[in-house]
Amino acid sequence: MRAGDRGRSRGDREMRIVNISYDGASGVPVIREPASALKNNTGTWRVFRPTIDSDRCVRCGKCWVFCPEGAIHVGDADIWIDYDHCKGCGICVNECRFITSQREV
Protein backbone atom coordinates (compact mmCIF):
# COMPACT_ATOMS: atom_id res chain seq x y z
CA MET A 1 0.00 0.00 0.00
CA ARG A 2 1.31 3.41 -0.85
CA ALA A 3 1.43 6.06 1.85
CA GLY A 4 -1.09 8.16 -0.01
CA ASP A 5 -3.77 5.42 -0.30
CA ARG A 6 -4.65 5.46 3.37
CA GLY A 7 -5.00 9.22 3.37
CA ARG A 8 -7.34 9.05 0.35
CA SER A 9 -9.64 6.51 1.99
CA ARG A 10 -10.32 9.10 4.68
CA GLY A 11 -11.26 11.63 2.08
CA ASP A 12 -7.96 13.52 2.07
CA ARG A 13 -5.98 14.15 -1.06
CA GLU A 14 -2.61 12.59 -1.68
CA MET A 15 0.29 14.98 -1.27
CA ARG A 16 2.03 14.97 -4.64
CA ILE A 17 5.78 15.65 -4.73
CA VAL A 18 6.88 17.71 -7.71
CA ASN A 19 10.33 18.05 -9.26
CA ILE A 20 12.28 15.14 -7.69
CA SER A 21 12.67 11.42 -8.44
CA TYR A 22 14.53 8.46 -6.93
CA ASP A 23 18.00 8.01 -8.47
CA GLY A 24 19.33 4.93 -6.62
CA ALA A 25 22.97 4.81 -5.56
CA SER A 26 23.75 8.27 -6.97
CA GLY A 27 21.85 9.70 -4.03
CA VAL A 28 24.40 8.38 -1.55
CA PRO A 29 27.04 11.00 -0.70
CA VAL A 30 30.23 9.00 -1.24
CA ILE A 31 33.28 9.56 -3.45
CA ARG A 32 34.25 6.26 -5.08
CA GLU A 33 37.44 7.37 -6.83
CA PRO A 34 40.52 7.15 -4.57
CA ALA A 35 42.77 10.24 -4.26
CA SER A 36 40.46 12.41 -6.38
CA ALA A 37 41.54 15.46 -4.35
CA LEU A 38 44.87 15.27 -6.21
CA LYS A 39 43.04 16.81 -9.17
CA ASN A 40 42.55 20.02 -7.19
CA ASN A 41 45.43 22.30 -8.00
CA THR A 42 46.01 24.13 -4.73
CA GLY A 43 49.41 25.44 -5.82
CA THR A 44 47.86 28.61 -7.28
CA TRP A 45 47.53 29.92 -3.72
CA ARG A 46 51.31 30.13 -3.31
CA VAL A 47 53.01 33.50 -2.81
CA PHE A 48 56.50 32.08 -2.16
CA ARG A 49 57.99 29.15 -4.14
CA PRO A 50 60.46 26.81 -2.38
CA THR A 51 63.31 25.30 -4.41
CA ILE A 52 65.54 22.39 -3.38
CA ASP A 53 69.22 22.81 -4.21
CA SER A 54 69.61 19.30 -5.64
CA ASP A 55 73.41 19.58 -5.84
CA ARG A 56 73.67 19.96 -2.07
CA CYS A 57 70.62 17.92 -0.97
CA VAL A 58 71.67 14.75 0.92
CA ARG A 59 68.16 13.24 0.75
CA CYS A 60 67.80 13.10 4.53
CA GLY A 61 64.01 13.40 4.14
CA LYS A 62 63.55 16.04 6.85
CA CYS A 63 61.52 18.25 4.47
CA TRP A 64 59.28 15.26 3.66
CA VAL A 65 58.66 14.73 7.37
CA PHE A 66 57.76 18.35 8.03
CA CYS A 67 55.71 19.16 4.91
CA PRO A 68 52.11 19.50 6.21
CA GLU A 69 50.64 18.98 2.73
CA GLY A 70 52.50 15.85 1.62
CA ALA A 71 53.72 17.91 -1.31
CA ILE A 72 57.33 16.66 -1.10
CA HIS A 73 58.08 13.33 -2.75
CA VAL A 74 61.08 11.11 -2.02
CA GLY A 75 62.27 9.01 -4.96
CA ASP A 76 65.15 6.51 -5.18
CA ALA A 77 67.59 9.13 -6.40
CA ASP A 78 66.06 12.51 -5.61
CA ILE A 79 63.55 14.57 -3.66
CA TRP A 80 61.11 16.81 -5.51
CA ILE A 81 58.32 19.25 -4.74
CA ASP A 82 54.83 18.84 -6.22
CA TYR A 83 54.15 22.48 -7.16
CA ASP A 84 50.48 21.71 -7.92
CA HIS A 85 49.91 21.14 -4.22
CA CYS A 86 52.68 23.08 -2.43
CA LYS A 87 51.01 26.09 -0.74
CA GLY A 88 54.30 27.87 -0.09
CA CYS A 89 54.04 27.80 3.71
CA GLY A 90 57.83 27.91 4.05
CA ILE A 91 58.17 25.20 6.71
CA CYS A 92 60.64 23.23 4.55
CA VAL A 93 62.64 26.42 3.98
CA ASN A 94 62.79 26.89 7.72
CA GLU A 95 63.85 23.28 8.33
CA CYS A 96 66.53 22.88 5.62
CA ARG A 97 69.31 25.27 4.61
CA PHE A 98 69.40 23.74 1.11
CA ILE A 99 65.82 24.84 0.40
CA THR A 100 65.30 28.51 -0.48
CA SER A 101 62.21 30.43 -1.51
CA GLN A 102 61.50 33.23 -3.97
CA ARG A 103 58.41 35.31 -4.73
CA GLU A 104 56.21 33.64 -7.38
CA VAL A 105 56.04 35.51 -10.66
Binding site: T44, W45, R46, V47, K87, G88
Partner: protein, 194 residues
Protein backbone atom coordinates in the same frame (compact mmCIF):
# COMPACT_ATOMS: atom_id res chain seq x y z
CA UNK B 1 21.09 50.54 -5.32
CA UNK B 2 24.75 50.08 -6.14
CA UNK B 3 26.43 46.71 -5.95
CA UNK B 4 30.16 46.00 -5.73
CA UNK B 5 31.95 42.66 -6.09
CA UNK B 6 35.57 42.31 -4.95
CA UNK B 7 37.84 39.40 -5.89
CA UNK B 8 41.27 38.66 -4.50
CA UNK B 9 43.28 36.22 -2.46
CA UNK B 10 43.36 35.51 1.25
CA UNK B 11 45.80 37.94 2.88
CA UNK B 12 45.32 40.78 0.39
CA UNK B 13 42.60 42.42 2.44
CA UNK B 14 39.55 41.56 0.35
CA UNK B 15 37.24 41.36 3.37
CA UNK B 16 38.73 44.52 4.88
CA UNK B 17 38.11 46.31 1.56
CA UNK B 18 34.40 45.48 1.75
CA UNK B 19 34.30 46.51 5.40
CA UNK B 20 35.96 49.87 4.76
CA UNK B 21 33.46 50.56 1.97
CA UNK B 22 30.53 49.51 4.18
CA UNK B 23 31.61 51.60 7.16
CA UNK B 24 32.42 54.64 5.00
CA UNK B 25 28.96 54.40 3.40
CA UNK B 26 27.40 54.45 6.88
CA UNK B 27 29.45 57.58 7.71
CA UNK B 28 28.16 59.12 4.49
CA UNK B 29 24.64 58.70 5.89
CA UNK B 30 23.58 55.91 3.52
CA UNK B 31 22.64 52.27 4.07
CA UNK B 32 25.19 49.53 3.42
CA UNK B 33 25.59 45.77 3.53
CA UNK B 34 28.94 43.99 3.23
CA UNK B 35 29.83 40.32 3.42
CA UNK B 36 32.57 37.89 2.40
CA UNK B 37 32.38 34.55 0.63
CA UNK B 38 35.22 32.08 0.84
CA UNK B 39 35.92 28.39 0.90
CA UNK B 40 39.26 27.68 2.54
CA UNK B 41 40.07 30.45 5.04
CA UNK B 42 43.75 30.45 4.15
CA UNK B 43 46.35 32.86 2.87
CA UNK B 44 46.38 32.76 -0.91
CA UNK B 45 43.00 31.08 -1.43
CA UNK B 46 40.51 32.90 -3.70
CA UNK B 47 38.23 35.20 -1.67
CA UNK B 48 35.22 37.26 -2.69
CA UNK B 49 33.51 40.07 -0.84
CA UNK B 50 30.43 42.11 -1.70
CA UNK B 51 29.03 45.53 -0.84
CA UNK B 52 25.55 46.93 -1.39
CA UNK B 53 24.90 50.67 -1.06
CA UNK B 54 21.50 52.34 -1.07
CA UNK B 55 19.68 55.40 0.24
CA UNK B 56 17.05 53.17 1.90
CA UNK B 57 17.28 50.00 4.03
CA UNK B 58 18.60 47.09 1.96
CA UNK B 59 16.35 44.03 1.63
CA UNK B 60 18.29 42.03 -0.96
CA UNK B 61 20.80 39.54 0.38
CA UNK B 62 23.36 37.12 -0.95
CA UNK B 63 25.75 36.77 -3.89
CA UNK B 64 25.98 39.69 -6.33
CA UNK B 65 26.02 38.38 -9.89
CA UNK B 66 25.52 41.70 -11.74
CA UNK B 67 27.75 44.23 -10.00
CA UNK B 68 27.94 47.94 -10.88
CA UNK B 69 31.61 47.82 -9.92
CA UNK B 70 33.94 44.81 -10.09
CA UNK B 71 37.28 45.09 -8.28
CA UNK B 72 40.12 42.61 -8.75
CA UNK B 73 42.84 42.95 -6.13
CA UNK B 74 44.79 40.17 -7.82
CA UNK B 75 45.12 39.72 -11.56
CA UNK B 76 45.90 35.98 -11.33
CA UNK B 77 42.40 35.27 -10.02
CA UNK B 78 41.29 35.36 -13.67
CA UNK B 79 43.15 32.09 -14.26
CA UNK B 80 41.34 30.17 -11.52
CA UNK B 81 37.91 31.75 -11.75
CA UNK B 82 35.59 32.97 -14.48
CA UNK B 83 35.09 36.50 -13.18
CA UNK B 84 34.24 38.29 -16.45
CA UNK B 85 31.28 36.30 -17.75
CA UNK B 86 27.74 37.75 -17.71
CA UNK B 87 28.76 41.19 -16.48
CA UNK B 88 26.15 43.90 -17.06
CA UNK B 89 26.85 46.53 -19.76
CA UNK B 90 27.14 49.33 -17.18
CA UNK B 91 29.77 47.51 -15.10
CA UNK B 92 32.94 49.41 -14.18
CA UNK B 93 35.98 47.16 -13.67
CA UNK B 94 39.04 48.10 -11.62
CA UNK B 95 41.98 45.68 -11.94
CA UNK B 96 45.20 45.67 -9.97
CA UNK B 97 47.78 44.99 -12.69
CA UNK B 98 50.94 46.40 -14.21
CA UNK B 99 49.48 46.00 -17.70
CA UNK B 100 47.75 48.93 -19.39
CA UNK B 101 44.08 48.94 -20.24
CA UNK B 102 44.59 48.49 -24.00
CA UNK B 103 46.77 45.37 -23.53
CA UNK B 104 44.43 44.02 -20.91
CA UNK B 105 41.35 44.38 -23.11
CA UNK B 106 43.24 42.76 -25.98
CA UNK B 107 43.94 39.75 -23.77
CA UNK B 108 40.35 39.64 -22.48
CA UNK B 109 38.00 40.52 -25.35
CA UNK B 110 34.92 39.58 -23.26
CA UNK B 111 35.24 42.92 -21.41
CA UNK B 112 36.29 45.09 -24.35
CA UNK B 113 33.03 47.09 -24.29
CA UNK B 114 33.03 47.73 -20.54
CA UNK B 115 34.68 50.57 -18.62
CA UNK B 116 37.98 49.02 -17.53
CA UNK B 117 40.57 50.76 -15.36
CA UNK B 118 43.94 49.01 -15.00
CA UNK B 119 45.73 50.37 -11.94
CA UNK B 120 49.05 49.46 -10.33
CA UNK B 121 47.84 49.22 -6.74
CA UNK B 122 50.64 46.89 -5.68
CA UNK B 123 53.21 49.36 -7.03
CA UNK B 124 51.82 52.20 -4.91
CA UNK B 125 51.45 49.88 -1.89
CA UNK B 126 55.12 48.86 -2.20
CA UNK B 127 56.11 52.53 -2.47
CA UNK B 128 54.10 53.71 0.56
CA UNK B 129 53.84 50.63 2.84
CA UNK B 130 56.84 48.63 1.61
CA UNK B 131 54.37 45.72 1.57
CA UNK B 132 52.43 44.15 -1.33
CA UNK B 133 49.03 44.68 0.32
CA UNK B 134 47.10 46.81 -2.15
CA UNK B 135 43.55 46.90 -0.76
CA UNK B 136 43.35 50.40 0.76
CA UNK B 137 45.24 51.87 -2.20
CA UNK B 138 42.73 50.29 -4.60
CA UNK B 139 39.89 51.92 -2.66
CA UNK B 140 41.70 55.20 -3.40
CA UNK B 141 41.47 54.40 -7.11
CA UNK B 142 37.79 53.48 -6.66
CA UNK B 143 37.05 56.84 -5.02
CA UNK B 144 38.86 58.72 -7.78
CA UNK B 145 37.01 56.86 -10.51
CA UNK B 146 33.51 56.53 -9.05
CA UNK B 147 33.14 59.04 -6.16
CA UNK B 148 31.13 56.30 -4.38
CA UNK B 149 32.25 57.37 -0.93
CA UNK B 150 33.59 60.69 0.36
CA UNK B 151 37.28 61.07 1.24
CA UNK B 152 36.45 62.08 4.83
CA UNK B 153 34.23 59.04 5.41
CA UNK B 154 36.91 56.86 3.81
CA UNK B 155 39.62 58.14 6.18
CA UNK B 156 37.46 57.58 9.27
CA UNK B 157 36.43 54.12 8.05
CA UNK B 158 40.07 53.09 7.45
CA UNK B 159 40.96 54.15 10.98
CA UNK B 160 37.99 52.11 12.32
CA UNK B 161 38.63 48.97 10.35
CA UNK B 162 42.43 48.90 10.71
CA UNK B 163 42.45 49.92 14.38
CA UNK B 164 44.37 46.80 15.43
CA UNK B 165 47.34 47.93 13.29
CA UNK B 166 50.01 50.55 14.20
CA UNK B 167 48.93 54.18 13.52
CA UNK B 168 51.82 54.86 11.13
CA UNK B 169 50.76 51.92 8.94
CA UNK B 170 47.24 53.35 8.79
CA UNK B 171 48.63 56.79 7.84
CA UNK B 172 50.75 55.25 5.09
CA UNK B 173 47.74 53.36 3.74
CA UNK B 174 45.68 56.54 3.64
CA UNK B 175 48.53 58.48 2.00
CA UNK B 176 48.88 55.78 -0.66
CA UNK B 177 45.14 55.78 -1.28
CA UNK B 178 45.00 59.57 -1.62
CA UNK B 179 47.87 59.39 -4.12
CA UNK B 180 45.94 56.75 -6.09
CA UNK B 181 42.78 58.85 -5.95
CA UNK B 182 44.67 61.88 -7.30
CA UNK B 183 46.14 59.84 -10.16
CA UNK B 184 42.73 58.90 -11.55
CA UNK B 185 40.52 61.85 -10.60
CA UNK B 186 38.77 62.96 -13.71
CA UNK B 187 39.41 59.64 -15.45
CA UNK B 188 35.90 58.37 -14.79
CA UNK B 189 32.53 60.01 -14.53
CA UNK B 190 31.12 58.23 -11.49
CA UNK B 191 28.70 55.33 -11.58
CA UNK B 192 24.93 55.33 -11.79
CA UNK B 193 22.70 53.48 -9.37
CA UNK B 194 20.13 51.09 -10.79
Amino acid sequence: MLEITIHGRGGQGVVVTSRILGTATLYDGLYAQDFPLYGAARRGAPVMAFVRIDNKPILLRGYIAKPNVLMLLDESIIEVKDVFSDLPADCTIIINTTRNTRDFKAAHPEIKDLRVFCVDGTGIALEYLKKPIPNVVIIGFLIGITHLITVDAFKTAVRDELKKYPPDLIDKNIAGALKACELVTGAGAGVTAR
